[in-house]
């Protein structure tokens, strides 16, 4: 099955079709493998089309364009003749940062930038060698330029396609050169995203859209409590529903397989499964968070320390202390969890919107008792990921169901199941203390954090000496000059599953730190911006970002009745400062007027796409700050759908002013998550400026606030 779609067909003769760009989504493996394959990523067809295989997941972050942008640049390909295909899972597509195939941690572009540059440069080298051989010239006298090869002596030219087959038989010269940044043509420029024509035509194939011949459609219900299991289920009531074919018991869930989603759902509703609710049957998030608060008095493991904190705090003219609490959060990707699998006796194929192709191959093989070589993973477009789709549960459950019924099965979760069986952003509690001297300058800072560890479940080898970096990131290293500091962590793992949620630990710790710095500034009687700047003397990059944001936002110059908040958080190697301007009505409706974001991310591949990532991450963070809270009662999640886990909408969005700080010298930072952490503190800081109320637990609706329609 080949879902390659031409832009021409998509827009049907419109003016924009002239570019002739093609976006491929290939459901049956690399259609283009074989002839003209220049390396793992690049295949040049005889007609000159450059096909680029991408082993990463596209979930809106734009990598199906930004990676080809890098390859095409070094290769001197004509970007209008570039086609992208999702590669099937394979070790050659391992993420260099993880050493396995997967997408996350804002690693894709920065992790594979050099690799993609080399892939492009190598492809160009092969094409130049092949053309040189054709012309009997030394390769040094042949130049690739914009999809063609030029003979420097005669001026003759050849299209890439004319030498593609020959080129794939050459061996790259050991010293093939990379371009210098000044020679880049696509890197650093805004390119039209290759996946967008398909996404404005309803033609992009997401996991939920996969069709396989003779496929059945299924849905499932999990045990209502975490850690519980299925005892038994009488399939008869479901089987009596027209269109239902099978009832499949799994360890912790029951699946109904039918001719379509609706009969499957009706069948599921007819069942009365018996569950073993397990040890967490009475568990609640309230009890868990209360326990976390108590654990603040325990000694933790030290994540980072410098100087004599106790001494510094003891000698301070004034100390500030506060306890903050962040709720559990669901990912709520727009496309609910789903996967399609076809498992036979000796092989398994899965079409899935996954962020974790590598681990899925491994654990899929384990779950089915097959050799990993018998597992084929096809990656579809992802209707959002945000870390949720790094988990394997939805893919594995589709595989187990398919094996049980002996047919291809598309397993679609209802929104409620998606919400209630997530791996949540950990609920977390922090106590922070700051000592101030007579001039209101910090003498020392200590923080103790309590939350569950994600890595303990996912990569236990990454937990060292009681520290899971993903639990402490965002506060364990701060750019501010703090003469003495200590950050401790008390790990408390519970039955509430936790996972990677856009920006991970930075999402709560960035808020804790930057809201608390604001409290310290207030206690010191200083302006929130000036206080931070004074502490950034040894951090010029951070100072520049903060200053850029403050100036662009007109810090301190808000109109009467409007209030500002500022914050600065470094995450994933990028430094981001934000400013919000808002007002609050008498009935606690918050109106957002403007958001300003400044970012230093080192080299940026595509500034327009980068800006879109910043906006996206801001909306994600705002939504959580206003509405986001997953509550657990009786062992299971209360919230079920968007009526109880609310989402921010278009009318509430103010304009976002963006400032990218070009920095060609620093290492490339991440893009997709970095603007989420600062938005929560800017919001609570601005709210303090507006109302004098310090919000130390979220979401804001818990405090009677709501978000109104934005106004310029």
């Amino acid at each position: 099955m080949d879902f390659t779609i031409s832009r021409r067909a998509l827009l049907q003769g419109s003016g924009a079709a002239a570019a002739g760009l093609i976006v491929g989504f290939n459901l049956g493996g690399p259609a283009a493998a074989g002839d003209g394959r220049l390396n793992t990523w690049v295949v040049v067809a005889p007609d000159g089309t450059v096909r680029i295989l991408i082993g990463y997941s596209e979930m809106g972050q734009g990598i199906v364009t930004s990676l080809p942008q890098v390859i095409a640049d070094e290769m001197e390909a004509d970007f209008d003749r570039v086609e992208v295909l999702f590669a099937p899972a394979g070790v050659e597509f391992a993420n260099p940062v993880f050493n396995m195939q997967g997408t996350g941690g804002s690693t894709t572009t920065r992790g594979s930038f050099e690799q993609m540059r080399k892939a492009g440069a190598m492809a160009r080298d092969l094409l130049e060698q092949a053309a040189a051989a054709r012309w009997f010239r030394p390769p040094a006298l042949v130049r690739a330029k914009n999809g063609r090869l030029h003979d420097q002596v005669t001026g003759a030219t050849l299209d890439f396609g004319e030498v593609a087959l020959a080129a794939s038989r050459f061996t790259p010269r050991p010293d093939y050169p990379l371009k210098t940044p000044s020679e880049w043509r696509y890197i650093g420029r805004a390119m039209d995203r290759l996946d967008i024509p398909a996404k404005v035509s309803g033609k992009a194939v997401f996991g939920i859209d996969v069709k396989v011949p003779n496929m059945l459609v299924a849905t499932l219900a999990h045990c209502p409590s975490f850690g519980g299991t299925l005892k038994s289920v009488d399939p008869a009531p479901a089987m009596a529903v027209r269109g239902v074919r099978h009832v499949v018991p799994l360890d912790d869930a029951v699946v109904v397989v039918a001719d379509g989603y609706w009969p499957a759902k009706k069948g599921l509703e007819a069942l009365s499964p018996e569950w073993d609710l397990g040890a967490f049957a009475d568990g609640s998030s309230a009890a868990v968070l209360a326990e976390f608060r108590e654990a603040l008095d325990e000694d933790g493991a030290t994540a980072s320390a410098e100087g004599d904190v106790e001494g510094a705090l003891g000698a301070a003219a004034k100390t500030v202390e506060a306890i903050y609490e962040a709720p559990y959060l669901a990912h709520a990707t727009m496309e609910p969890m789903n996967a399609t699998a076809w498992v036979t006796e000796d092989r398994a194929t899965v079409w899935t919107p996954t962020q974790g192709q590598g681990p899925l191959t491994m654990f899929g093989a384990q779950a089915l008792g097959l050799d990993p070589s018998r597992i084929t993973v096809h990656t579809t477009f992802l209707g959002g990921g945000f870390g949720r789709r790094f988990e394997l549960d939805f893919s594995l459950k589709a595989m187990l169901t398919s094996r049980a019924v002996g047919a291809p099965v598309k397993l679609i979760w209802s929104r409620e199941e998606d919400m209630r069986r997530d791996y949540y952003r950990p609920g977390a509690v922090a106590r922070m203390t700051m000592g101030l001297d007579g001039d209101g300058m910090p003498t020392g800072f200590s923080a103790k954090l309590v939350c569950s560890s994600i890595m303990s479940r996912v990569f236990p080898q990454m937990v060292r000496d009681g520290i899971d970096n993903s639990s402490v990131e965002g506060i364990s290293e701060l750019p501010y000059a703090l003469p003495a500091r200590r950050i401790d962590y008390v790990m408390r793992n519970t039955d509430i599953p936790v996972g990677f949620w856009r920006s991970v630990g930075n999402s709560q710790n960035g808020w804790f730190a930057e809201a608390f710095i604001d409290e310290a500034a207030t206690a010191a009687g200083k302006d929130a911006y000036a206080f931070r700047m004074a502490l950034l003397q040894n951090a010029p990059r951070h100072a520049r970002v903060l200053k850029t944001a403050a100036e662009a936002a007109g810090w301190g110059k808000a109109d009467d009745g409007r209030h500002q908040g500022i914050a600065l958080v470094e995450s994933f190697g990028s430094i981001v400062a934000e400013v919000v301007e808002l007002s609050v009505t008498d009935d606690k409706e918050i109106v957002l007027h403007k958001i300003t974001v400044a970012a230093d991310s080192g080299q940026v591949v595509d500034p327009r796409n980068f800006e879109a990532q910043l906006q996206s991450a801001i909306v994600y963070g705002l939504t959580a700050a206003f509405y986001g809270e997953i509550r657990v009662e009786n062992g299971g999640v209360v919230e079920g759908n968007f009526d109880s886990y609310r989402m921010m909408k278009l009318e509430q969005m103010p304009a976002i002013v963006t400032r990218l700080i070009p920095d060609g010298t620093s290492a490339m930072g991440g893009a997709g998550e970095i603007a989420t952490p600062p938005i929560t503190p800017v919001l609570t800081n601005a709210l303090f400026a507006a109302t004098g109320e310090r919000i130390r637990d979220l979401p804001l609706i818990r405090h009677g606030y709501d978000l109104g329609r934005a106004r310029a």
Partner: protein, 150 residues
């Protein structure tokens, strides 16, 4: 039961239970997957289609009630000139991110502009109640403005 429904100008006999939401008939029975499932409870707009020219959430319409209605999905608008202008505005603004909500967004925007060719910011805010988890709102807004100006 069998129901006769009109989707994208063609009449289809579908043999499903009468309470089956139009959304699932469109997706599972007719195989048109441009219309998306997001919530099933009228909260997100991912399933938006046109019913007799108006934007409606197809997860809320039982197939038995859809008989006699003129239903259009995004597939049915491809090639329509006005819709193409909208798509081009969307491309010019590079509106989508993951793209999952965008069919619904486009369907809602199409009826907004059909009924009100020069919408104010408030009109856009009133009409565009779809959820976008990727936060494309400002670019969607800009794309509607651009299409209205074209």
């Amino acid at each position: 039961m069998s129901y006769s429904i009109t989707v994208n100008g063609a009449v289809h006999e579908v043999d499903v239970d009468g309470d089956t939401p139009l959304l699932w008939v469109i997706r599972d029975t007719l195989g048109l997957t441009g219309t998306k499932f997001g919530c099933g409870i009228a909260e997100c707009g991912a399933c938006t289609v046109h019913v007799d020219g108006e934007a409606m959430q197809s997860c809320q319409i039982a197939v038995e009630d859809a008989v006699g209605m003129n239903i259009t999905t995004i597939e049915g608008l491809l090639g329509d000139q006005r819709f193409q202008a909208l798509q081009e505005a969307w491309i010019a603004e590079q509106a989508p991110q993951c793209g999952y909500c965008q069919s619904g967004m486009l369907m809602a925007a199409a009826t907004l502009l059909a009924n009100n060719p020069t919408p104010s910011d408030d009109d856009i805010a009133d009409a565009m109640i779809n959820i976008c988890r990727c936060g494309t709102y400002n670019r969607v807004h800009a794309a509607i403005r651009r299409a209205a100006a074209a």
